[in-house]
Amino acid sequence: MRFGGVQALAGISYLVQPGRVQSVIGPNGAGKTTLFNVITGVYRPTEGRVLLDGDDVSGQSPDRLARRGVARTFQNLQVCLQMSALDNVMAGAHRHLGQGLLPSLLHLRATRRADAQARDAAMEWMRFVGVDRYALRDADGLPYGALKRLEIARALASKPRLLFLDEPAAGLNPTEKVAMRDLIHAISERGVTVVLVEHDMKLVMGVSERILVLDYGRKLAEGSADEVRANPDVVAAYLGHG
């Protein structure tokens, strides 16, 4: 993947392993977010392919991928501040709701019922991530940590198979970080495959079964936490400019 003169990713081959928690780490600007953006369809790769269940989905729009069960959160929060917290999470259920224009205009009973169910489910997800007490508040003005969790609840409300979390613990205090680790475990236990970008090594080492290390857009190492920790290139990269 290149942007004009910047080669953001090169020669990466990466296999997301179903059912596990895995992490992507690397120094700032290594290309972690870009990797997520390529996988989730935000960018069309200038070279290479993205496969989902063996289908080539390179450059498919993010919404099509989302409808196939790929969900994500964003490093720079993308919460709709003008909506209530609950509405944000209900938006996550979009792909499971009646989407016809006429049923919505006429408020047909089936639409209303599906929406009511989505509301209950959304409340459930908010409880699951621990932000249910903010449900009826405008998202604008919620604490930062709550917004991060709100994004996760929204992603979960779409009932994804694959969940990409871009720096979920950034900006959180130590207690919140521990809670985030537990949340990631809990999500994984529900059968969702989690891929995580994170700078907090304790969190990464604590939750991930496999780790991909990027540096300057290239794959530096891949393996279990111990393997990665023992890799001299990784150590050099982090000491060099981490």
């Binding site: 004009g4 953006n37 993308q78």
Partner: protein, 291 residues
């Protein structure tokens, strides 16, 4: 054949220069503040109307024109102080409505003061046409071209060679950064509005002998200036000039060869076509949005 073409080209380049000045006004304000100033056309109207009124009152033409520019600078600063600055944090649409409100207010005042009639300013140096390649060129067109060229050059010098100009560019690139090095954005906005007011008035006074002017002449000119600014890529000075000239020529050629009734539609058809293929204008940046 050729003479006909030349005739249309002269007309196009003349009105194109006016559009370019209008577009530069949009670009300067947009760069400094991110606001699209729908009152830009009123500055042009003021340039024409104030010159006409003062000349009619017996002031020698050059003084009338300079006075009209000063009036318009003051009005520009007034718009910024009175309407834009108090609403700095409002949403884009709200700011659009505010500048439209200011535009209606200025138009209303012009109507009260100057009346509803159409007026023509006397040409700056007579109206004996000059023959060039079989086509006739009005001396006033030369005034338009010459002064526009000088203004564009002066602006270029201002933004690239003077500290004040560079400071204004700095604010448009990075407001916070500029603030950190001690540039006061509010001053920059003020200068931008004053400058655009003056630019508009120059355009208005230059074109008033050719096109006539009235209290409501600003609307269409302003909109075409907006088209020209967008055509080149919003906030791009060179783009504004190129966009303005392109617009003027396209309009004149359509009026000449196709249909004069649809001449006013040309800028808008053109901009729609350009935006469909180049969503950020001809010279606009082409980067992917970051998330």
């Amino acid at each position: 054949m050729l003479s006909e073409f030349l005739q249309f080209l002269f007309a196009g380049v003349t009105s194109g220069s006016i559009y370019a000045l209008a577009a530069l006004g949009f670009a300067i304000i947009f760069n400094a503040s991110g606001v699209i100033n729908f009152a830009q056309g009123e500055f042009i109207m003021l340039g024409g109307m104030v010159s006409v009124a003062l000349a009619a009152a017996g002031l020698p033409l050059p003084f009338a024109v300079v006075a009209s520019v000063l009036v318009s600078v003051v009005v520009g600063i007034g718009v910024e102080k009175g309407a834009i600055e108090p609403a700095r944090r409002a949403e884009t649409v709200t700011l659009i409505i505010i500048t439209i409100g200011a535009s209606i207010l200025i138009q209303g005042l012009a109507q009260v003061i100057f009346g509803k009639g159409q007026h023509a300013l006397q040409p700056f140096s007579g109206d004996t046409p000059i023959l060039v390649g079989g086509a006739s060129l009005l001396p006033q067109s030369l005034w338009v071209l010459g002064v526009s060229a000088i203004v564009v050059a002066a602006l270029w010098g201002f933004f690239n060679r003077t500290l004040a100009g560079k400071a204004m560019l700095a604010v448009s690139y990075n407001r916070l950064g500029a603030q950190l090095v001690g540039i006061e954005p509010r001053r920059v906005w003020l200068v931008a509005f004053g400058l655009s007011g003056g630019l508009g008035a120059v355009a208005g006074a230059l074109s008033a002998p050719i096109t006539m002017t009235s209290y409501d002449a600003g609307l269409m000119l302003g909109l075409k200036g907006f088209v020209a600014a967008t055509l080149g890529g919003l906030g791009n000075g060179l783009g504004a000039v190129v966009g303005g000239l392109l617009l003027g020529v396209a309009e004149a050629m359509t009026a000449g060869y196709v249909s004069s009734a649809y001449k006013d539609a040309v800028p808008f058809v053109l901009i729609l076509l350009v935006l469909v293929f180049l969503p950020r204008g001809l010279l606009g940046a082409r980067s992917a949005d970051r998330v």
